[in-house]
């Protein structure tokens, strides 16, 4: 990756560590922090790479050189601030890449509504990890590509489901979905049409998001999960 100019809004734990890592990788970074005391603490280490000011104010962004920024990352503790910093960066200053932190996962819908993507929620990520650790939870999202309208999900095949005991070729999958892999007794295998799906297998399916419910009903029985 060639060297980027990155503006990081918010010098909390996330912003500070992010700046340190980016600088370590050879990127140019300016961190913006509106709390004077926090700014002074961070400035001890980051020196000229941190500036004092509220990143939701246009002049603060301009002073940081937003016109030449390759990437703006908004990681303050306030979702409204992160949303607006990214909105202004993208729509006013035409910054090509933005990344927003979402503190409260319930605010994700607002970021989506206003086209602020990617929006990253640590709570949401941890929740997904928990789901992955506890497969009985049901359907796990491994990858979401909302713009491309694709996702990869993981399901545990239940005993009395449609798919259990059938060859992959006989499992009636809807158009726009595909079984990518099976995980059985800790081993992964890439199936062909002859591979038999067994109860207890974890299947990885790539699909269009609208098919999620159909796919679930094929691999998981309605009267109880595996």
């Amino acid at each position: 990756m060639s060297s980027l100019y990155v503006i990081v809004a918010g010098a909390g734990k996330v912003g500070w560590n992010l700046a340190r890592e980016l600088i370590g990788k050879g990127h140019e970074v300016t961190v913006l922090e509106s709390d004077r005391r926090r700014y002074l603490a961070v400035e001890q280490e980051l020196e000229h790479a941190v500036q004092y000011g509220d990143a939701t104010e246009l002049w603060v962004l301009e002073r940081a050189g937003i016109q030449r920024a390759d990437l703006v990352v908004a990681v303050t503790g306030d979702d409204e601030d992160n949303l607006l910093i990214c909105q202004v960066a993208k729509e006013k200053y035409l910054c090509e890449r933005i990344i927003a932190r979402v503190n409260n996962p319930r605010n994700l819908i607002h970021f989506k509504l206003l086209g602020i993507e990617p929006a990253v929620s640590a709570t949401d990520l941890i929740l997904r990890l928990i789901e992955h650790e506890v497969p009985s939870y049901g359907l796990v999202h491994l990858l979401d590509l909302p713009n491309e309208e694709l996702e990869v999900i993981e399901l545990v095949v239940s005993e009395d489901s449609h798919a259990a005991g059938k060859r992959v070729v006989d499992v009636r999958l809807p158009e726009g979905s595909l079984v990518m892999a099976l995980l059985r007794e800790g081993k992964g295998l890439v199936p062909n049409g002859e591979t038999v799906v067994e109860a207890g297998d974890e299947v990885l399916v790539v699909l269009q998001p609208r098919l999620e419910h159909d796919i679930e009903s094929i691999f998981v029985s309605p009267n109880g999960r595996y």
Partner: protein
């Protein structure tokens, strides 16, 4: 008309009272119950008895907005004490709930002007104060 006001501090409560007295249906959403008392005081009677609605909640929550009646609102006023909250919830009202008339109070003049250009109706108290102050202080000095 159905007027939904988010944030009933000095500005919001005053507009709410005026709208109610003008015969509109007025619903107020505020996270601070103290705002309700302010409305009672300004009216000289209970806000609900006078026909007003009040919901305690934060406007970033869709459920709170729905409970306050955003889906029926003809007018949506974002007048909390935070510019950023006002700009976000005004856009939510406009784009998600298609409220026909949305007004956001924004104290930062530059962002008020830019969002106005983007189609968000903003009112900037600071810009008005600057204009009046300049007129009063610098009058006849040019």
């Amino acid at each position: 008309m159905f007027v939904l006001i988010v944030g009933a501090g000095r500005v919001g409560s005053s507009v709410a009272t005026t709208a109610l007295q003008a015969g509109h249906t007025v619903s107020v959403l505020d996270e601070d119950p103290l705002s309700h008392e302010r409305l009672d005081m300004e009216l000289g009677q209970s806000w609900e008895e006078a026909g007003g609605r009040f919901t305690i909640g934060t406007a970033m929550e869709l459920e709170a907005l729905r409970e306050a009646g955003v889906e029926e609102a003809d007018v949506f006023i974002a007048s909390t004490n935070g510019d950023n909250t006002n700009l976000v919830v005004a856009q939510v009202a406009q784009r998600r709930f298609d409220v026909p008339r949305v007004v956001a109070r924004v104290l930062d003049p530059r962002r008020a002007a830019w969002y106005q250009e983007q189609g968000v109706n903003t009112i900037c108290g600071t810009a008005i104060a600057i204009e009046q102050l300049e007129a009063a202080a610098l009058r006849d000095t040019a």
